[in-house]
Symmetry: C2
Subunit: 459 residues, 2 copies
């Protein structure tokens, strides 16, 4: 039963399990106490901090353990912004950051700060020049992920860090996805990570603040972890996190090359075995274990169910039918197709045979979903001369695109189809469909319910 | 090697260990995902929530898991204050609360809120009438611990909750110390707890917000745990926390009675075997496993070292020689002796023989510390008629009190000794010494360095 969603959470690494169980008997006491149980706990904590700092490439006294990667991001951004309050209240983030960064930015904005969101290109990468251009006199902090969590694209951290350094602005790097594969290059100022992404246990994040970076921890005072992460330290989990980071790093070069070859198979072969697919993300500058593609005329969540039934656990950035009703902000920022989105992220140790089986199963699963969705198409198409109006109001992604594809042949070349739709995903997926199909996307205008998207038939 | 500091952190309960190890293989995936690993994790999380809610006495949807008890307190107070922002910004706490509550109050005050600190009596208990009197039109929240963490005194939660309810003000109960022994009585609105205090693992706190209580979670938005506790859930630890709470509750009545008898032995026999001792905290309305006493002319930290060498791990509320240089705020609020303070908190399973051995070892350890401290007394005492001025500036607790005790016989009955001291603990310990010794404490006035404390010889 292959689990292909390591980017959400990796299965516990055997070294993590061993370290966790071994330190349960030594690491439960308060490391601030001076009696023997406290001293033992303190030794474990200090050793774990040294090991983690070594893997990150920082000094031990620059690194604190937080209860999660999310908390590391929240605390890191809030503390860095407060520490640079005098410089100003301007924050720069990329449009493809993890939600914990974007939610921190939203909270900063709600509190009176200003935020610049630097766009990403169609491959998911931010442009260092755009970062440099966004830097202002009052910029307190810039944030950039080391690699994208949905499409795997590596970001130009070193270049952006250099631009920030030149402007005297600290750069916070969310390294959650890349940390298992190696340290983050460049002259960054703050860094965050999350243990359960590298096979460590849940409950451990890390926050690095380089010496000399102004930092003012927010929230009530607490003496733990240099005042930067309130609450009793979870030492057995911290020990397991540090030990497993060291273990995955020892295998990173070999395992990274192996998994890169497996994800390359998916990148190369999916477009051949599944019609109307777009593989997204940078094909070269990318994480070794992660590949993402979107399938036209497919609802991502239904496809996930099909794949789950076939024994494959994967994730999707298209949540058309889930509670949020909005497509992935990453795919949206890239301007690529969001419907039928599948993210495959292989855990360490994944075997080639499992990937081959996935490639065998995928075409049938997509076909099945498309057949199911093909049935309910019953849009009312009104011809008006050379143009057609398609009423898809109230219909969810990917139905509006499916209906568009069905009627485009009903107008002559040069004629238009106007799709009325109120599903947010249509804004992304109709232009993406036009690009994939070589049709002309004319534009969008407000309509009575939702928007009217105009497409001109080119061929 | 007996460990007598369960109130700091309890050794991992066997049930917690078993549940933690058992759920490592099932509980590592993201419970928000719909594939089988996610569904399994979700089932574990839901079952743990039901079990914990059952033990607390609340609905499962009123309880969220936080990364620690401290985080539960911080989030609970901040969320309740923000939820009641319209009512006003007045917060009530007792003077004997845990530092996480008092630090939250300080943060609230720094942010423009107002705080009333309700005093506690010499036994450590808050007065329900004082709480009722502190309630104002603009009171947003009141906080009261269920039992004190340093002296074990149970607080009148039900009475205070009733007074708050009558005024329409929510009461938050920090139940960290009492939760292993039973649910909290009374009509409280919010409750917090910490798993490592009951033998659960570190990394798990709980926050209960009763239905109908206005609550606005603070910090960046996060969808986990009903939006009240950001970050990936630590499911194996949560499962272990819930299982061990259930286990300790099953033994609570029997084990509580047994430990109560053991702490009663310490309460009754310490004053007989150690001279100049004050046992503090309520002798009846108290936690079963905790007893605290203070030894005149003793430095708490040195005594802890002696006891550690003899194999006993205990804690102290007097940190005269530690980094903070201030005596315990709890002992200060109670107005009792802080010097030579020792807190004994017995973990579940402590044997009578261990307590007997502690009672055998204690008198010698105290004597040794007193002998060591007796040596450096070299204060300059200047006679001025019937009065004496003792210059103890620059000397740390318990030296000023030791010097006072040595020279009181040098003035006639009715004469005074004025102690010049700049150690904060003197303000607490000189009046406490007067009360223990039947001498008259006249008062305190500012001096060139620190304060001048005037004592009149009565006998």
């Amino acid at each position: 039963m292959p689990y292909f969603d390591a980017a959400s959470s990796a299965p516990l690494h055997p070294v993590a399990r061993q370290a966790l169980v071994a330190s349960l008997d030594e690491g439960w006491a308060d490391p601030a106490r001076l009696y023997r149980e406290g001293r033992r706990a303190r030794l474990l904590l200090d050793a774990a901090r040294e090991a983690a700092a070594d893997a990150v490439g920082c000094r031990a006294d620059e690194l604190v353990f937080t209860p999660s990667g999310t908390r590391a991001v929240h605390a890191g951004i809030a503390g860095a912004l407060a520490g640079r309050r005098r410089a100003g209240r301007h924050l720069i983030v990329s449009a493809a950051e993890h939600s914990s960064v974007l939610h921190s930015a939203a909270a900063h904005e709600a509190g009176g700060g200003t935020v610049t969101e630097v766009p990403v290109d169609r491959g998911g990468a931010a442009d260092p020049e755009a970062y440099a251009a966004a830097l202002r006199e009052d910029t307190a902090l810039a944030c950039l992920q080391s690699a994208n969590h949905e499409v795997g694209t590596e970001q130009p951290v070193a270049e952006v860090a250099a631009a920030c350094r030149a402007a005297g602005v600290p750069l916070l790097v969310d390294a959650a996805q890349s940390l298992p594969w190696g340290p983050v290059d460049g002259d960054w100022s703050l860094l965050t990570g999350s243990a359960h992404k590298w096979g460590g246990p849940a409950g451990v994040g890390l926050l690095v603040v380089r010496k000399g970076v102004r930092f003012a921890a927010q929230g009530p005072v607490d003496e733990r972890e240099s005042g930067r992460a309130a609450g009793f330290e979870n030492i057995p989990a911290i020990v397991a996190a540090a030990a497993s980071l060291r273990a995955v790093r020892a295998e990173a070069a070999r395992e990274g090359a192996r998994l890169r070859e497996l994800t390359e198979r998916i990148r190369a072969r999916v477009p051949g075995c599944v019609p109307d697919v777009e593989v997204v993300g940078d094909p070269v500058r990318r994480l070794p274990h992660l590949v993402t593609f979107s399938c036209l005329y497919v609802d991502g969540e239904t496809l996930l169910h099909e794949l789950d039934r076939a024994g494959f656990s994967v994730s999707s950035g298209s949540s058309c039918t889930s509670s949020t009703l909005t497509p992935s902000h990453v795919l949206k920022a890239m301007g690529v197709l969001s419907e039928g989105n599948v993210r495959v992220s292989l855990p360490v140790g994944t075997e080639a045979a499992e990937v081959e089986r996935f490639l065998d199963v995928l075409p049938g699963a997509v076909r099945e979903v498309r057949e199911k969705l093909g049935a309910p198409v019953a849009a009312e198409a009104r011809a008006e001369g050379d143009s057609l109006v398609l009423d898809a109001v109230g219909k969810r992604c990917p139905i509006p695109v499916i209906e568009l594809a069905k009627v485009i042949g009903h107008v002559p070349v040069g004629g238009t189809v106007t799709v009325l739709a109120d599903d947010e995903a249509a804004r992304l997926d109709i232009p993406a469909w036009c690009e994939m199909r070589g049709q002309e996307y004319v534009g969008e205008r407000p309509a009575d319910h939702g928007s009217a998207y105009v497409v001109r038939r080119s061929s």
